[in-house]
């Protein structure tokens, strides 16, 4: 994902801002890392450059 996405993205649950913690970057893209809600503290993974902002229960159920 591009860092510019941070301007419009928010926590899917409570709509508060997210904080970016990038593990791996490539040419301006964030390849992996974590987005953490500044309010509820829930965190969302970025994998292969794609943030997964499903509510936690929809992300984890198998």
């Amino acid at each position: 994902m591009k860092e510019s996405l941070m301007e419009i993205v928010c926590c899917p649950m409570d709509k508060h801002d997210l904080e970016l913690d990038a593990d791996e970057r490539d040419d301006g893209e964030i390849i992996s890392g974590t987005l953490t809600c500044t309010d509820c503290g829930e965190s969302y993974p970025i994998e292969d450059g794609i943030p997964n902002l499903l509510p936690p229960d929809m992300r984890d159920d198998a």
């Binding site: 996405l5 928010c10 899917p12 301006g28 794609i50 943030p51 902002l53 499903l54 509510p55």
Partner: protein, 225 residues
């Protein structure tokens, strides 16, 4: 079966390409109607292969985001786009991960009726749109299109089957103005001569003509106040 499991499986089978090919027949004239301007931020809900955003980018919008509930589908879409201004996210229609008033226009093709709570999805869309932003909602599965009724039997996710007026009412209930409603015909699909029927799921040529040329895709356009 969850949306994620169902559509991860579709992506694994490569079904996003067949959908793009078929849906493009009516998505193209629908996308052409959208009043997008240079620099606009556009959202595609249930993006599949992401073709709608690639097409809109050719008209010069600023940023394009495709949301999909299936991580595998989002990965496929990401693979089809080389464009820095197009991005994909995994997310759910009922829990949009976008700030209030952050989106200029939204589009959705053949995806809205999978929402777990479509009324709430419309409220979420209204929330994320700027004032004057539009939601172009296109569906082939709806009440008047009787040929689509059988589709529910082939999928475990519960699908919403509203008629034209139920779409208008639901948009208004969610606080969206209804600017337009239209049945957009598929003029491109080839319909064989009567002698070749039954063909696909159609018993008669008339039934296939009615499905594609008369009913086609139901478009409802909402506008955020």
């Amino acid at each position: 079966m969850s949306v994620r499991e169902e559509f991860d499986a579709w992506a694994a089978e490569g079904r996003e390409q067949g959908m793009e090919d078929r849906h493009w027949h009516t998505a193209r004239p629908i996308l052409a109607r959208m009043p997008v301007e240079d620099g606009d931020t556009v959202l595609d809900l249930g993006t599949g292969s992401g073709y709608a955003l690639r097409a809109l980018r050719e008209r010069g919008i600023g940023a394009a985001y495709g949301l999909d509930g299936s991580p595998e589908m989002a990965r496929k879409a990401d693979g089809y786009s080389e464009d820095d201004a197009v991005g994909f996210l995994v997310g759910d229609f009922d829990h949009l991960p976008f700030a209030d008033g952050s989106i200029d226009h939204a589009f959705s093709m053949e995806a809205f009726y999978y929402a777990n709570d479509p009324h709430h999805t419309l409220e979420e869309i209204r929330r994320v749109l700027k004032p004057g932003g539009t939601f172009y909602c296109a569906v082939n599965y709806y009440e008047e299109n009787v040929a689509s009724h059988g589709w529910q039997a082939n999928i475990e996710i519960e699908m919403t089957r509203w008629d034209r007026s139920e779409y208008r009412d639901a948009f208004r209930d969610a606080g969206l103005h209804v600017a337009e409603q239209d049945n957009v015909p598929d003029r491109e699909i080839e319909i064989p001569p009567a002698s070749e029927f039954p063909h696909e799921e159609f018993d008669s040529r008339e039934a296939m003509v009615e499905r594609y040329r008369t009913w086609g895709t139901l478009l409802t356009v909402g506008v955020a106040p």
